[in-house]
Amino acid sequence: MNRVLLIGSPNSGKSSLFNRLTGLNQRVANFPGITVDVASGPFAGMPDVELVDFPGTYSLQPISGEEAVAVEFFQRALTDPEVRHVLCVVDATRLEKSLYFTLQVIRECQKRGKPVSVLANMADVLAVNDLAFDHAGLADAIGAPVLLVSARQGLGIDLLLSELRQKLISQPAVSSRWSETPDELLRGSAHQLAQRFGPRGDVLVQSQLRLDSFFLNTGLGGVAFFCIMFLLFQSIFTWSAPVMDAVETVVMGMGATLVPLISNQVIADFVADALFGGVGAFLVFVPQIFVLTLVIGVLEDSGYLARAALICHRPLKVFGLTGKSFIPMLSGVACAIPAIYAARAVDSPWQRVMTYLAIPLMPCSARLPVYTLLIAVFIPDETALLGLVGWQGLALFLIYFFGMFAALVITGVVSRFASGAKSELPFVLELPPYRLPSIRPILRMAINRSKHFVTKAGKVILAVTIAVWVLGYFPNGGTDLGTSWLGMLGHWIQPLFEPMGLDWRYGVAILSSFLAREVFVGTLGTIFGIEGADDNMLPLVEQIQGSGLPLGSGIALLVFFAIALQCVSTVAILSKEGSFRLASRMLVGYLVTAYLLALLTFNVVEALV
């Protein structure tokens, strides 16, 4: 298989060009010894030639771990005999920014005898703004072909493909003009070449400045930011909801149709509860992941995401996070799973880990039924200040605030003491020009991410769902949760929860809530002999009140649920997006922290009451 490498710095339009050249027909490629996943796909019209999308980087002199991996990947790829050509993408409207990197790429290619072509992207923007770019002069000066293309409009793509086809057949001789040139000389040359051949005038910067003056204005920009974040939040909560309901209805409907056809009761229960219940429980997240990826893709492609990062950077920096952490954290208030995918927008690996640390502590929607139940049990449904403040609402606000506060404190403490934070590049963010987003590649990205969730995390979630079902079903055929293996486990761990005034029933409910936090309510309902506690909590509330559960235990449970990472879907996706080590450390770390804080809370509250 012949391979062609596509390389370019961030915001050069490389990904759009990749999508244009491959017709969105892509998959994940791997090079020996390299652990990064990169997109690859056959050229449209040249199915025997694979285009490999090199991870974007500003320079071949890495200053972060992630850049080092990307550069290593590039250097190894150049030694691969299957790599026959390198295409280096530059933004023709901002030549100087890209040209030093381009010369570095040309030098490395010449050292290893690989032919390279430069693709000057954004030809459409040059034409619309009547900007001149002497690409022929630049080609002569750098000793490599320079083709003007537009990924967005497809300009120059046919010419590129026909020239590439010729070059793959004829294998042109590779010059050695730059092969021994040191970086300092390359920097000087890039500056001079950009001045000589690049477009002049600042019409693009001026139009960008007009929009930035609005979006980064302290007052109006803040209002715009609030409105955009409100829309993003609505997209996860409200717009996804009908599709999520539809997915759940379809999966449950299929189960309801299939299960009566099974004569064996155990198999029928397994198929109904473990298989269809398990599949439904994770497929229901797919619409959220799809919609959030779509909205973030639009924000990123339009150039607004970089502005949002700038706005949020200052307050989040105090807690070891970056401005780009804000959107994943906000998404985490709806659900941690799409939020963890959204953290891909955080470039720095260290700050991405910090963002992962913060996300599970954001008060996600699955915690709401648990909070509602416990608040209804302990907080009277009364108001103060002439009916303006309800005590239950205030309690809900406080526990939500507690989760967010805990997220910031934990990331702040970890970043202060961990060594990874010290190697971080200070905040330097390129603000790309505002553009109309290209919808097709964003749609493709949303589909790919949804597929990734189903194929990677789905297996883990299903396996854990089945394990919990087996524990709750046997040995008594699911007739009594209290005497099931899960119930025995609940009794076994009772000594752990006794110091905070909780008996085995709460232990079982906490264990089962690892499937999803809201399962806590349904499980307690089953144990207390109340059907449909998920939909109508009042009988369960009265039962728990009648059981004499101390106030300290209730508040301790609230604290426990605010911190503990008992959500198998979140752990599974953390394991895939981060690493198994990170996911397991977070699972244990948050469980221990939640337990100790809950214990402390119980003792303090009981001492005060």
């Binding site: 200053i63 100087e96 990197f101 477009p199 930035d212 700038l310 590049l425």
Partner: protein, 88 residues
């Protein structure tokens, strides 16, 4: 160097002011210096402060035809001097 002649930092530029890059503080680690030069912050290059968002947020600078946002922890290490171009 006499205090009156101390170079100004990029962070001190007011909105719309253009200066030329004079150099970098030695306290700025070399990889970051190189990266800034790769972005176009060469000695003698004109830099304009386009925006100074409120609440201490990173500021927005134009160098060549590219716009960057720099936080105080790096902008204060970039020294600038009065440019013939003056204010934008």
């Amino acid at each position: 160097m006499h205090p009156a002649q101390s170079p100004r930092s990029l962070w001190a530029l007011s909105k719309g002011e253009t200066c030329a890059v004079l150099g970098f503080d030695e306290a700025l680690p070399e990889p970051y210096r190189i990266r800034l030069m790769e972005f176009g912050f060469h000695q003698g290059e004109a830099v304009t402060c386009l925006l100074r968002p409120g609440f201490g947020a990173p500021r927005v600078y134009r160098v060549s035809n590219t716009v960057f946002s720099l936080d105080v922890e790096i902008a204060r290490f970039v020294f600038v001097e009065q440019s013939e171009l003056g204010s934008a």
